[in-house]
Assembly symmetry: C3
Homo-oligomer: 233 residues x 3
């Protein structure tokens, strides 16, 4: 059992490790990481197909951080658990909230008030497997919002938050676990499970060097087939 000093020392080490992981993965793009996860046979290559960047309004923007999951349910559902506080108050500094809304609903489950609160808490951004609203407010606050679509309607009467930091399903075998890392950019969004980070970093580091050499070769006029054959083997 750890005493208090050891415990806090242990936490510092963990945090450093997490930061190291973060900065290691952050070198790469969603495309680099997706390829690694396909190679590692992770479901769907971790690709959150259908979710795109709405804010900020800059093509070179990138969101990266560890996930806090939120599960929304139909407002009419009486059997699902409830939360003791507003789901948005579970945001944490340096993290990314992933909100899972029941599919097929035309209401939003994220808006300008949530971004204001999340930003105050130091959150890096939000990924909504569903809809959001108040696009102008998120852009004005320069807060990253990735989502499946937009709406003008709030959640009242449509959905309510039921649980936080539980696994939520994205599609088929692809689940988002609390603590997973998530990255979003202009190409799309990818989720990276902690268990795969080392292998992803290794694959991406090697591949990135090869890609740089390939780009160089192509700019010099080498046929792409030959360049890939020569450099990727």
């Amino acid at each position: 059992m750890l005493d208090s000093a050891s415990h806090s020392h242990f936490c510092i080490i963990l945090e450093m490790t997490s930061e190291r992981i973060g900065s290691a993965l952050n070198e790469f793009s969603t495309c680099d990481i997706g390829d690694a996860l396909v190679k590692l046979k992770y479901p769907n290559g971790g690709f959150l197909d259908g979710i795109t960047m709405y804010s900020p309004d800059r093509h070179d923007a990138k969101l990266f951080g560890q996930v806090i999951t939120v599960k929304m349910v139909d407002a009419a559902c009486k059997t699902s658990p409830s939360l003791p506080k507003h789901f948005c108050d579970y945001n944490e500094a340096g993290k990314v909230m992933f909100v899972s809304q029941p599919h097929g609903m035309y209401s939003a489950c994220w808006g300008g008030l949530m971004t204001t609160r999340a930003k105050y808490l130091g959150a890096k951004g939000v990924v909504v497997d569903g809809r959001f609203r108040d696009i102008g407010e998120h852009r004005d606050m320069d807060f990253p919002v990735f989502a499946r679509g937009q709406s003008i309607l709030g959640s009242n009467g449509f959905t309510r938050a039921s649980e936080v930091n539980i696994p939520v399903q994205f599609k088929d075998e692809l689940w988002i676990q609390p603590g997973d890392y998530i990255m979003g950019d202009a190409d799309g969004v990818v989720v990276i499970p902690v268990s795969h980070i080392d292998a992803v970093v290794e694959f991406c580091t090697t591949r990135k060097k090869i890609d740089e050499l390939t780009f160089e070769a192509l700019r010099s006029g080498e046929p792409i087939g030959e360049a890939i054959k020569r450099l990727r083997q």
Copy 2:
């Protein structure tokens, strides 16, 4: 029965009322109004889901006005009524044309010529429940065009205008009536029936004050759950 002077006096009063209504609603966003209409149990909260802003190319643009409806039918349909003049000539100063195209067609029913005419007549913009084309021309003319999608094909051989200023169905229980108000912005499009305007303005006025206080509280660090509980009750 009104004599000519009384009649024109009566019209001025009506216009002032309509202008008052316009400027009262115009204070709010599609999101504010959508929430009000959900609260008032108006079908779908008046949300015209799937219709987005294509022109102008400014995120802070907003379209607002009273609706002139147009019903398009399949060009092959011989039994539907015909119009004595081109549908676009029914545009009016300060109003918004709402064009309902049969779903699933890949042709456009609005283009650069129509925008030129509508603009000449003083129309504020157009909302197409269907497709449009000539995106560059609308943007160059700074004319608001909201639609479900784009096309390169004109209406010839695909659709023809059948009726104007009749109720047109958007989805399920949600119909657009001539005289309804419509608002479009970067979040989406909402239709407001005249019968609900007073209640919508009342709801939105109260809610807007609460929202301002909530934003202020959140920027000061109050948890969102507490702020909402304190301010919305």
Copy 3:
């Protein structure tokens, strides 16, 4: 039979003709050409519905050129033919590659490496009936990329190129033949078969003059119905 000098002379004439065709069609927009092809009863008016411009990020951009087709198949397919070299090495100066990916796949079949190679070979752009990735790279290289959607995943394990310069089906009766011309702009994408070029140019030339007169009439306040009746008959 042609001797070498005659043959090269013949090729120059052909090239001039092709250039003449190119510059003649290039006067028009996708909308002009689509209307012509509808009039000529070409399937779907040549409209490649669902394919939109992702790069460059300028609304006034336009892609035009003769098509080189590429047929992708499921990577698992063992019975389809294979290519002796990388499909991207089949790009040619002044031409546009059209890549047909099996529908419903969430991987990309075009990316930054391909654009680098295609640009080196002088290709004008690419149209992907499927998905692409690396959006920032194409925009940075100012290379036109039109596609059905985006992805973060490369083709490895998903698709492989099977054949080039064979007819590929777009939808129902609409096929893309190698040698067809293709045009893409902010309104959409259209394919023009060589056999229809003369008739398309003729229709578009006449229609363009009428459209200019119609715009002028509308700006002077003539009702659109009357202007069209007067000028199009």
